[in-house]
Symmetry: C2
Subunit: 191 residues, 2 copies
DNA sequence: AATTTAAATGAATATTTGTTCATTTAAAAG
DNA sequence: CTTTTAAATGAACAAATATTCATTTAAATT
Protein backbone atom coordinates (compact mmCIF):
# COMPACT_ATOMS: atom_id res chain seq x y z
CA UNK A 1 0.00 0.00 0.00
CA UNK A 2 1.05 3.55 -0.61
CA UNK A 3 0.99 6.24 2.01
CA UNK A 4 -2.56 7.19 2.92
CA UNK A 5 -4.37 10.49 2.48
CA UNK A 6 -3.99 12.58 5.59
CA UNK A 7 -7.06 13.93 7.39
CA UNK A 8 -4.89 16.47 9.12
CA UNK A 9 -3.94 17.76 5.68
CA UNK A 10 -7.56 18.53 4.90
CA UNK A 11 -7.79 20.45 8.15
CA UNK A 12 -4.63 22.34 7.24
CA UNK A 13 -6.07 23.21 3.83
CA UNK A 14 -9.35 24.35 5.36
CA UNK A 15 -7.51 26.38 7.98
CA UNK A 16 -5.31 28.03 5.40
CA UNK A 17 -8.27 28.89 3.19
CA UNK A 18 -10.12 30.42 6.13
CA UNK A 19 -7.13 32.47 7.24
CA UNK A 20 -6.55 33.87 3.77
CA UNK A 21 -10.21 34.70 3.26
CA UNK A 22 -10.19 36.62 6.53
CA UNK A 23 -7.08 38.52 5.52
CA UNK A 24 -7.71 39.40 1.90
CA UNK A 25 -11.34 38.65 1.30
CA UNK A 26 -12.82 36.13 -1.02
CA UNK A 27 -11.67 37.83 -4.19
CA UNK A 28 -8.03 37.57 -3.21
CA UNK A 29 -8.01 33.84 -2.54
CA UNK A 30 -5.26 32.14 -4.53
CA UNK A 31 -4.73 28.41 -4.71
CA UNK A 32 -0.96 28.80 -4.59
CA UNK A 33 -1.26 30.86 -1.41
CA UNK A 34 -3.55 28.28 0.15
CA UNK A 35 -0.96 25.61 -0.57
CA UNK A 36 1.89 27.68 0.84
CA UNK A 37 -0.09 28.50 3.99
CA UNK A 38 -1.01 24.84 4.46
CA UNK A 39 2.66 23.91 3.91
CA UNK A 40 1.97 21.59 1.01
CA UNK A 41 2.71 21.77 -2.68
CA UNK A 42 0.20 23.38 -5.01
CA UNK A 43 -0.41 20.12 -6.81
CA UNK A 44 -1.26 18.35 -3.56
CA UNK A 45 -4.31 20.58 -3.23
CA UNK A 46 -5.72 18.96 -6.35
CA UNK A 47 -5.35 15.50 -4.85
CA UNK A 48 -7.72 16.48 -2.05
CA UNK A 49 -10.06 18.78 -3.99
CA UNK A 50 -10.96 18.60 -7.67
CA UNK A 51 -10.73 22.37 -8.06
CA UNK A 52 -11.24 25.70 -6.34
CA UNK A 53 -15.02 25.37 -6.51
CA UNK A 54 -15.00 22.07 -4.70
CA UNK A 55 -12.58 23.31 -2.05
CA UNK A 56 -14.80 26.27 -1.31
CA UNK A 57 -18.05 24.34 -1.22
CA UNK A 58 -16.60 21.61 0.99
CA UNK A 59 -15.24 24.20 3.38
CA UNK A 60 -18.59 25.97 3.51
CA UNK A 61 -20.39 22.76 4.39
CA UNK A 62 -17.83 21.85 7.01
CA UNK A 63 -17.99 25.28 8.66
CA UNK A 64 -21.76 25.47 8.60
CA UNK A 65 -22.12 22.05 10.17
CA UNK A 66 -19.60 22.78 12.90
CA UNK A 67 -21.23 26.12 13.59
CA UNK A 68 -24.77 24.76 13.82
CA UNK A 69 -23.52 21.91 16.00
CA UNK A 70 -22.15 24.46 18.42
CA UNK A 71 -25.46 26.14 19.13
CA UNK A 72 -28.17 23.65 18.20
CA UNK A 73 -28.27 21.04 20.95
CA UNK A 74 -31.48 18.98 20.96
CA UNK A 75 -31.21 18.78 24.76
CA UNK A 76 -31.65 22.55 25.08
CA UNK A 77 -34.90 22.48 23.16
CA UNK A 78 -36.86 20.98 26.04
CA UNK A 79 -35.93 23.68 28.54
CA UNK A 80 -38.53 26.29 29.48
CA UNK A 81 -38.80 28.82 26.64
CA UNK A 82 -36.92 31.72 28.23
CA UNK A 83 -34.19 29.43 29.50
CA UNK A 84 -33.87 27.81 26.07
CA UNK A 85 -33.83 31.21 24.38
CA UNK A 86 -31.04 32.50 26.63
CA UNK A 87 -29.01 29.33 26.20
CA UNK A 88 -29.22 29.19 22.43
CA UNK A 89 -28.75 32.94 22.09
CA UNK A 90 -25.57 32.87 24.18
CA UNK A 91 -24.14 29.89 22.35
CA UNK A 92 -24.90 31.48 19.00
CA UNK A 93 -23.44 34.83 20.07
CA UNK A 94 -20.23 33.33 21.43
CA UNK A 95 -19.80 31.09 18.43
CA UNK A 96 -20.19 34.04 16.07
CA UNK A 97 -17.83 36.17 18.14
CA UNK A 98 -15.18 33.51 18.53
CA UNK A 99 -15.23 32.33 14.94
CA UNK A 100 -15.38 35.52 12.93
CA UNK A 101 -13.48 33.89 10.08
CA UNK A 102 -16.22 31.36 9.63
CA UNK A 103 -18.91 34.01 9.60
CA UNK A 104 -16.96 36.15 7.16
CA UNK A 105 -16.41 33.16 4.92
CA UNK A 106 -20.05 32.12 4.99
CA UNK A 107 -21.30 35.64 4.27
CA UNK A 108 -19.02 35.97 1.30
CA UNK A 109 -19.87 32.51 0.05
CA UNK A 110 -23.53 33.51 -0.26
CA UNK A 111 -22.60 36.37 -2.59
CA UNK A 112 -20.03 34.48 -4.59
CA UNK A 113 -20.13 32.69 -7.92
CA UNK A 114 -19.09 29.57 -6.03
CA UNK A 115 -22.40 29.11 -4.21
CA UNK A 116 -24.27 25.92 -4.97
CA UNK A 117 -27.92 26.18 -3.94
CA UNK A 118 -28.13 22.48 -3.07
CA UNK A 119 -25.17 22.71 -0.76
CA UNK A 120 -26.66 25.76 0.94
CA UNK A 121 -30.06 24.11 1.41
CA UNK A 122 -28.43 20.98 2.79
CA UNK A 123 -26.93 23.09 5.56
CA UNK A 124 -30.19 24.86 6.35
CA UNK A 125 -31.98 21.61 7.07
CA UNK A 126 -30.02 21.49 10.29
CA UNK A 127 -31.87 24.50 11.70
CA UNK A 128 -35.21 22.71 12.10
CA UNK A 129 -35.00 22.46 15.91
CA UNK A 130 -34.76 26.24 16.16
CA UNK A 131 -37.98 26.73 14.20
CA UNK A 132 -39.68 24.14 16.40
CA UNK A 133 -38.57 25.99 19.51
CA UNK A 134 -40.11 29.22 18.22
CA UNK A 135 -43.38 27.41 17.48
CA UNK A 136 -43.54 26.11 21.02
CA UNK A 137 -42.88 29.60 22.36
CA UNK A 138 -45.86 30.89 20.40
CA UNK A 139 -48.13 28.11 21.68
CA UNK A 140 -47.14 28.96 25.24
CA UNK A 141 -47.99 32.63 24.53
CA UNK A 142 -44.45 33.72 25.36
CA UNK A 143 -43.32 34.68 21.87
CA UNK A 144 -45.05 37.03 19.43
CA UNK A 145 -47.19 35.44 16.72
CA UNK A 146 -45.15 36.72 13.81
CA UNK A 147 -43.39 34.97 10.95
CA UNK A 148 -40.61 32.65 12.14
CA UNK A 149 -38.10 34.04 9.66
CA UNK A 150 -38.81 37.50 11.00
CA UNK A 151 -38.01 36.27 14.50
CA UNK A 152 -34.84 34.59 13.26
CA UNK A 153 -33.81 37.78 11.47
CA UNK A 154 -34.47 39.78 14.63
CA UNK A 155 -32.21 37.49 16.65
CA UNK A 156 -29.39 36.71 14.24
CA UNK A 157 -29.24 40.09 12.47
CA UNK A 158 -28.05 42.14 15.44
CA UNK A 159 -25.53 39.48 16.46
CA UNK A 160 -23.95 39.54 13.02
CA UNK A 161 -23.87 43.32 13.13
CA UNK A 162 -22.41 43.50 16.65
CA UNK A 163 -19.64 41.07 15.78
CA UNK A 164 -18.92 43.02 12.59
CA UNK A 165 -18.58 46.21 14.67
CA UNK A 166 -16.42 44.41 17.21
CA UNK A 167 -14.10 43.18 14.48
CA UNK A 168 -13.92 46.60 12.84
CA UNK A 169 -12.91 47.99 16.22
CA UNK A 170 -15.92 50.25 16.68
CA UNK A 171 -17.56 48.39 19.57
CA UNK A 172 -15.74 46.40 22.24
CA UNK A 173 -17.83 43.42 23.30
CA UNK A 174 -17.76 42.49 27.01
CA UNK A 175 -20.11 40.83 29.48
CA UNK A 176 -22.08 44.00 30.00
CA UNK A 177 -22.63 44.58 26.28
CA UNK A 178 -23.58 40.93 25.89
CA UNK A 179 -26.12 41.16 28.69
CA UNK A 180 -27.66 44.26 27.12
CA UNK A 181 -27.75 42.65 23.69
CA UNK A 182 -29.56 39.59 25.03
CA UNK A 183 -32.08 41.83 26.78
CA UNK A 184 -32.73 43.78 23.57
CA UNK A 185 -33.22 40.54 21.66
CA UNK A 186 -35.66 39.09 24.17
CA UNK A 187 -37.66 42.33 24.49
CA UNK A 188 -37.99 42.22 20.75
CA UNK A 189 -39.49 38.75 20.38
CA UNK A 190 -41.31 38.29 23.70
CA UNK A 191 -45.08 38.65 23.73
CA UNK B 1 -13.27 71.20 -28.81
CA UNK B 2 -13.46 67.45 -28.82
CA UNK B 3 -16.51 65.52 -27.76
CA UNK B 4 -17.09 65.86 -24.04
CA UNK B 5 -17.05 63.20 -21.33
CA UNK B 6 -20.49 61.84 -20.77
CA UNK B 7 -22.01 61.85 -17.27
CA UNK B 8 -24.52 59.29 -18.42
CA UNK B 9 -21.60 57.03 -19.25
CA UNK B 10 -20.43 57.09 -15.65
CA UNK B 11 -23.93 56.12 -14.58
CA UNK B 12 -23.89 53.31 -17.13
CA UNK B 13 -20.56 52.07 -15.80
CA UNK B 14 -21.77 52.23 -12.19
CA UNK B 15 -24.99 50.48 -13.14
CA UNK B 16 -23.17 47.74 -15.00
CA UNK B 17 -20.76 47.18 -12.11
CA UNK B 18 -23.64 46.93 -9.66
CA UNK B 19 -25.58 44.52 -11.81
CA UNK B 20 -22.61 42.22 -12.27
CA UNK B 21 -21.74 42.27 -8.57
CA UNK B 22 -25.31 41.28 -7.76
CA UNK B 23 -25.21 38.45 -10.29
CA UNK B 24 -21.78 36.90 -9.77
CA UNK B 25 -20.48 38.41 -6.58
CA UNK B 26 -17.48 40.58 -6.09
CA UNK B 27 -14.95 37.92 -6.98
CA UNK B 28 -16.40 37.46 -10.43
CA UNK B 29 -16.25 41.12 -11.42
CA UNK B 30 -14.36 41.53 -14.70
CA UNK B 31 -13.50 44.85 -16.30
CA UNK B 32 -14.26 43.51 -19.77
CA UNK B 33 -17.71 42.40 -18.62
CA UNK B 34 -18.38 45.78 -17.04
CA UNK B 35 -17.54 47.43 -20.35
CA UNK B 36 -19.74 45.07 -22.33
CA UNK B 37 -22.66 45.53 -19.94
CA UNK B 38 -22.25 49.33 -20.10
CA UNK B 39 -22.08 49.09 -23.90
CA UNK B 40 -18.71 50.75 -24.20
CA UNK B 41 -15.27 49.54 -25.14
CA UNK B 42 -12.98 48.16 -22.48
CA UNK B 43 -10.50 50.96 -23.01
CA UNK B 44 -13.16 53.60 -22.44
CA UNK B 45 -13.47 52.41 -18.85
CA UNK B 46 -9.93 53.59 -18.26
CA UNK B 47 -10.75 57.09 -19.48
CA UNK B 48 -13.30 57.42 -16.70
CA UNK B 49 -11.51 55.43 -13.97
CA UNK B 50 -7.78 54.98 -13.48
CA UNK B 51 -8.17 51.30 -12.64
CA UNK B 52 -10.42 48.70 -11.04
CA UNK B 53 -9.65 49.95 -7.52
CA UNK B 54 -10.73 53.47 -8.34
CA UNK B 55 -13.91 52.30 -10.06
CA UNK B 56 -14.89 50.26 -7.04
CA UNK B 57 -14.08 52.92 -4.45
CA UNK B 58 -15.87 55.65 -6.41
CA UNK B 59 -18.92 53.44 -6.77
CA UNK B 60 -18.90 52.66 -3.05
CA UNK B 61 -18.80 56.32 -2.13
CA UNK B 62 -21.54 57.20 -4.58
CA UNK B 63 -23.81 54.41 -3.33
CA UNK B 64 -23.22 55.13 0.32
CA UNK B 65 -23.95 58.82 -0.09
CA UNK B 66 -27.12 58.20 -2.08
CA UNK B 67 -28.25 55.62 0.44
CA UNK B 68 -27.66 57.80 3.51
CA UNK B 69 -29.31 60.74 1.76
CA UNK B 70 -32.40 58.63 1.32
CA UNK B 71 -32.96 57.99 5.01
CA UNK B 72 -31.12 60.72 6.92
CA UNK B 73 -33.18 63.89 6.58
CA UNK B 74 -32.26 66.57 9.15
CA UNK B 75 -35.91 67.65 9.16
CA UNK B 76 -36.99 64.27 10.57
CA UNK B 77 -34.66 64.60 13.53
CA UNK B 78 -36.82 67.19 15.27
CA UNK B 79 -39.97 65.06 15.27
CA UNK B 80 -41.10 63.43 18.53
CA UNK B 81 -38.90 60.39 19.19
CA UNK B 82 -41.34 57.64 18.26
CA UNK B 83 -42.43 59.50 15.14
CA UNK B 84 -38.80 60.09 14.13
CA UNK B 85 -37.95 56.45 14.82
CA UNK B 86 -40.80 55.18 12.64
CA UNK B 87 -39.96 57.58 9.85
CA UNK B 88 -36.27 56.83 9.69
CA UNK B 89 -36.85 53.09 10.16
CA UNK B 90 -39.31 52.97 7.26
CA UNK B 91 -37.09 54.98 4.98
CA UNK B 92 -34.10 52.81 5.83
CA UNK B 93 -36.08 49.62 5.39
CA UNK B 94 -37.52 50.61 2.01
CA UNK B 95 -34.19 51.86 0.78
CA UNK B 96 -32.52 48.59 1.72
CA UNK B 97 -35.31 46.57 0.17
CA UNK B 98 -35.48 48.53 -3.05
CA UNK B 99 -31.74 48.73 -3.59
CA UNK B 100 -30.49 45.27 -2.73
CA UNK B 101 -27.66 45.59 -5.22
CA UNK B 102 -26.29 48.54 -3.31
CA UNK B 103 -26.43 46.70 -0.02
CA UNK B 104 -24.83 43.62 -1.53
CA UNK B 105 -22.09 45.73 -3.04
CA UNK B 106 -21.40 47.60 0.18
CA UNK B 107 -21.28 44.42 2.26
CA UNK B 108 -18.81 42.83 -0.09
CA UNK B 109 -16.75 45.99 -0.32
CA UNK B 110 -16.09 45.83 3.42
CA UNK B 111 -14.61 42.35 3.07
CA UNK B 112 -12.64 43.05 -0.07
CA UNK B 113 -9.03 43.96 -0.72
CA UNK B 114 -10.34 47.10 -2.43
CA UNK B 115 -11.53 48.76 0.78
CA UNK B 116 -9.86 52.04 1.65
CA UNK B 117 -10.36 52.89 5.32
CA UNK B 118 -10.41 56.63 4.64
CA UNK B 119 -13.13 56.27 2.05
CA UNK B 120 -15.18 54.15 4.44
CA UNK B 121 -14.78 56.59 7.33
CA UNK B 122 -15.70 59.51 5.08
CA UNK B 123 -19.05 57.85 4.45
CA UNK B 124 -19.69 57.11 8.11
CA UNK B 125 -19.40 60.75 9.08
CA UNK B 126 -22.78 61.22 7.45
CA UNK B 127 -24.51 59.13 10.13
CA UNK B 128 -24.01 61.66 12.95
CA UNK B 129 -27.67 62.81 13.01
CA UNK B 130 -28.79 59.25 13.77
CA UNK B 131 -26.54 59.04 16.82
CA UNK B 132 -27.84 62.42 17.99
CA UNK B 133 -31.41 61.21 17.65
CA UNK B 134 -30.67 58.19 19.86
CA UNK B 135 -29.09 60.44 22.48
CA UNK B 136 -32.19 62.62 22.61
CA UNK B 137 -34.35 59.50 22.96
CA UNK B 138 -32.35 58.48 26.01
CA UNK B 139 -32.64 61.93 27.58
CA UNK B 140 -36.39 61.79 27.15
CA UNK B 141 -36.42 58.35 28.84
CA UNK B 142 -37.95 56.73 25.76
CA UNK B 143 -34.97 54.70 24.65
CA UNK B 144 -32.90 52.26 26.70
CA UNK B 145 -29.64 53.54 28.15
CA UNK B 146 -27.40 51.15 26.26
CA UNK B 147 -24.49 51.67 23.90
CA UNK B 148 -25.50 53.53 20.72
CA UNK B 149 -23.78 51.04 18.46
CA UNK B 150 -25.75 48.27 20.13
CA UNK B 151 -28.96 50.13 19.32
CA UNK B 152 -27.83 50.69 15.75
CA UNK B 153 -26.98 47.01 15.42
CA UNK B 154 -30.37 46.07 16.81
CA UNK B 155 -32.13 48.23 14.21
CA UNK B 156 -30.02 47.73 11.11
CA UNK B 157 -29.09 44.08 11.67
CA UNK B 158 -32.58 42.62 11.29
CA UNK B 159 -33.33 44.80 8.27
CA UNK B 160 -30.24 43.52 6.48
CA UNK B 161 -31.21 39.98 7.37
CA UNK B 162 -34.85 40.36 6.29
CA UNK B 163 -33.86 41.78 2.94
CA UNK B 164 -31.32 39.00 2.48
CA UNK B 165 -34.06 36.44 3.14
CA UNK B 166 -36.44 38.27 0.80
CA UNK B 167 -33.85 38.22 -1.95
CA UNK B 168 -33.07 34.56 -1.41
CA UNK B 169 -36.78 33.87 -1.76
CA UNK B 170 -37.30 32.54 1.76
CA UNK B 171 -39.44 35.39 3.11
CA UNK B 172 -41.83 37.51 1.07
CA UNK B 173 -41.91 41.06 2.42
CA UNK B 174 -45.27 42.85 2.41
CA UNK B 175 -46.97 45.58 4.45
CA UNK B 176 -47.90 43.17 7.21
CA UNK B 177 -44.36 41.82 7.57
CA UNK B 178 -43.04 45.36 7.54
CA UNK B 179 -45.43 46.43 10.27
CA UNK B 180 -44.38 43.47 12.40
CA UNK B 181 -40.70 44.15 11.80
CA UNK B 182 -41.06 47.76 12.89
CA UNK B 183 -42.89 46.66 16.03
CA UNK B 184 -40.14 44.17 16.88
CA UNK B 185 -37.50 46.84 16.37
CA UNK B 186 -39.25 49.39 18.57
CA UNK B 187 -40.01 46.88 21.34
CA UNK B 188 -36.33 46.11 21.31
CA UNK B 189 -34.98 49.63 21.87
CA UNK B 190 -37.82 51.30 23.78
CA UNK B 191 -37.40 51.84 27.50
C1' DA C 1 14.99 -6.38 0.32
C1' DA C 2 12.27 -5.79 -3.62
C1' DT C 3 8.01 -4.31 -5.38
C1' DT C 4 3.92 -1.88 -5.68
C1' DT C 5 0.87 1.91 -5.22
C1' DA C 6 -0.78 6.30 -4.38
C1' DA C 7 0.52 10.61 -2.21
C1' DA C 8 3.45 14.57 -2.80
C1' DT C 9 6.13 17.76 -5.36
C1' DG C 10 6.71 22.22 -7.89
C1' DA C 11 8.08 23.79 -12.31
C1' DA C 12 5.70 24.21 -16.56
C1' DT C 13 1.50 25.20 -18.96
C1' DA C 14 -2.98 27.03 -19.95
C1' DT C 15 -6.20 30.24 -19.05
C1' DT C 16 -8.08 34.19 -17.44
C1' DT C 17 -8.25 38.94 -16.98
C1' DG C 18 -6.41 43.84 -15.98
C1' DT C 19 -4.34 47.39 -18.67
C1' DT C 20 -2.30 49.75 -22.70
C1' DC C 21 -1.95 51.89 -27.13
C1' DA C 22 -2.12 52.81 -32.09
C1' DT C 23 -5.91 54.19 -34.55
C1' DT C 24 -10.52 56.05 -35.47
C1' DT C 25 -14.42 59.05 -34.55
C1' DA C 26 -16.99 63.13 -33.48
C1' DA C 27 -17.58 67.59 -31.72
C1' DA C 28 -16.26 72.40 -31.58
C1' DA C 29 -13.47 76.40 -33.19
C1' DG C 30 -11.35 79.20 -36.69
C1' DC D 1 -14.41 73.25 -44.92
C1' DT D 2 -10.23 72.40 -42.33
C1' DT D 3 -8.03 71.81 -38.16
C1' DT D 4 -7.74 70.57 -33.55
C1' DT D 5 -8.57 67.98 -29.51
C1' DA D 6 -10.05 64.53 -26.56
C1' DA D 7 -13.19 60.66 -26.31
C1' DA D 8 -13.85 56.02 -28.01
C1' DT D 9 -12.38 51.71 -29.84
C1' DG D 10 -10.84 46.85 -29.35
C1' DA D 11 -7.06 44.03 -30.50
C1' DA D 12 -2.68 43.26 -28.41
C1' DC D 13 -0.01 42.81 -24.35
C1' DA D 14 1.28 41.79 -19.68
C1' DA D 15 0.39 39.96 -15.41
C1' DA D 16 -1.73 37.01 -12.48
C1' DT D 17 -3.32 32.67 -11.29
C1' DA D 18 -5.72 27.99 -11.84
C1' DT D 19 -4.44 23.52 -13.19
C1' DT D 20 -1.51 19.74 -14.97
C1' DC D 21 2.06 16.33 -15.17
C1' DA D 22 6.56 14.04 -15.23
C1' DT D 23 9.06 12.75 -11.43
C1' DT D 24 10.09 11.64 -6.63
C1' DT D 25 8.95 9.87 -2.07
C1' DA D 26 7.18 6.91 1.51
C1' DA D 27 4.26 3.42 3.27
C1' DA D 28 2.63 -1.20 3.09
C1' DT D 29 2.81 -5.88 1.15
C1' DT D 30 5.20 -9.94 -0.53
Amino acid sequence: MPKAKDDKKIEAIFGATLKLVLKDGFSGLRMSDVAKEARIATGTLYIYFRDKHELINELYLSLKKKSIDSYVDPADMNLPIKKAFDTVWKKYFLNTLQNPEETAFIEQYYRSPFLKVKVKEEAYQLLTPIYQLLERGKKEQLIKHVDNDLLIAQISGPIAEIVRMHQAGGLRVNDSIMKDALQLAWDSVKK
